[in-house]
Point group: D2
Chain length 140, copies 4
Amino acid sequence: MDDLAIAKQSTDTMYETDAAIHVLDISIEVTAVGQAEARFEVRAEMLNGFHVCHGGYLFTLADTAFAYACNSYNKKTLAAGASIEFLRAAKLGDHIVAIATERHRGHKTGFYDVVVSNQDGQEIALFRGRSHSTRDTLFT
Amino acid sequence: MDDLAIAKQSTDTMYETDAAIHVLDISIEVTAVGQAEARFEVRAEMLNGFHVCHGGYLFTLADTAFAYACNSYNKKTLAAGASIEFLRAAKLGDHIVAIATERHRGHKTGFYDVVVSNQDGQEIALFRGRSHSTRDTLFT
Amino acid sequence: MDDLAIAKQSTDTMYETDAAIHVLDISIEVTAVGQAEARFEVRAEMLNGFHVCHGGYLFTLADTAFAYACNSYNKKTLAAGASIEFLRAAKLGDHIVAIATERHRGHKTGFYDVVVSNQDGQEIALFRGRSHSTRDTLFT
Amino acid sequence: MDDLAIAKQSTDTMYETDAAIHVLDISIEVTAVGQAEARFEVRAEMLNGFHVCHGGYLFTLADTAFAYACNSYNKKTLAAGASIEFLRAAKLGDHIVAIATERHRGHKTGFYDVVVSNQDGQEIALFRGRSHSTRDTLFT
């Protein structure tokens, strides 16, 4: 298998049992090794008391893109930490995309930058995630 | 109204229309001005492909405690950014609590630390949020 | 004056009285509006108890590149916060460069990413800074 | 040796060869296992182009308190990353103290919060550091 095939197979393995992203109707695509895109639409039940998308859901979208990006090597890899900057509100019906790019991949620790944008190409949030890989594989 | 009454009224105003936390069955309590506790139980639909609670939901719980803590002054206040460190996995059925404490409140910017723990008192995550207050009130 | 001329003049104004970077022999260049590069050589007095460059000096180099990048609009702008990830040690005699790029510039708040590398092109640290602009100018 | 004696011996071992903190006249005290205090006075050469203490030096002070706190177990431990929020400027002649407290210590990773204050007890900065321990000892 080449790298991209391994990445796609890793994604499929995780996706199958990933209840969280099914509930949120997140679509996920691993575009290359170490890179992934996650998308959702802001639904009514994602709004907070200020009638905009709860930051927790934007984080979840970014975190999902990050998780699939860092797990594209067929090596079970965990999110160890992340930071997010909220730049602009996301509103009901907005189509949001989170694009994760690998910034550094060391022996065990990796860093991924995720940019979250809306359908007009406006940046909604900046996310940086830190991963920690284990010795387990995702598929055999 | 005294401070705590203002805090409780601020909470009630936000809570009423906060769809996101209703969907996740988050219970929220403002315990003092600048302090809040949020709780949920890890349900099947919160699990990720590794069969543990998706970090996005833990972030959402912490972010919710933070949001209610920083909005306890009857001044509409937005989350500007946050960081989270994941210390331990949360599992199906775990009862998770996020306790937010105010660390600093300046003219417009505030910092809040949130500790996320499970029913055994084990720390699950450490969160630090940064808020930005507006001139709007929550209630009149 | 065009943008780059304003950027260079902003730099010169700050540089003149910037004692901290003179003491560390940091050289600074604003390469475009919102972008700057800072360089130094690791000297004996920058080493910590493990005989590698103290992380504080690497932060200082990155923070300096960030400060000059966000001050390139002739608008006095302060560092409000930053995070740094240390990837690799810097050693005595290493030539270190910190390259700051603007990621987002809003009404008052800006975000800048800084990559710190050594003379072999190896990444030493990743830095993300958040700025807050004031109404003051740097020069008239 | 009891815990505090180990902590003090760890400190002494690092301090002896720690050029960086000697140059900045930082005094350091490990007050308990996992806790340390670092102090310095803001000198003219620490000022930046805005005539206040360069954030890099405040970071360095906090990072030093953090380094000594996480190295108090006679286990060589490295700074893996940190974030800092700048709350207030430090001025020429100010006496600054950074107090590091352990928040979590796992198998290899630790988290430490550092509060940086001036001589009037005003908080100057909030810092959170993440450490990574190795298998080496500091002294035998």
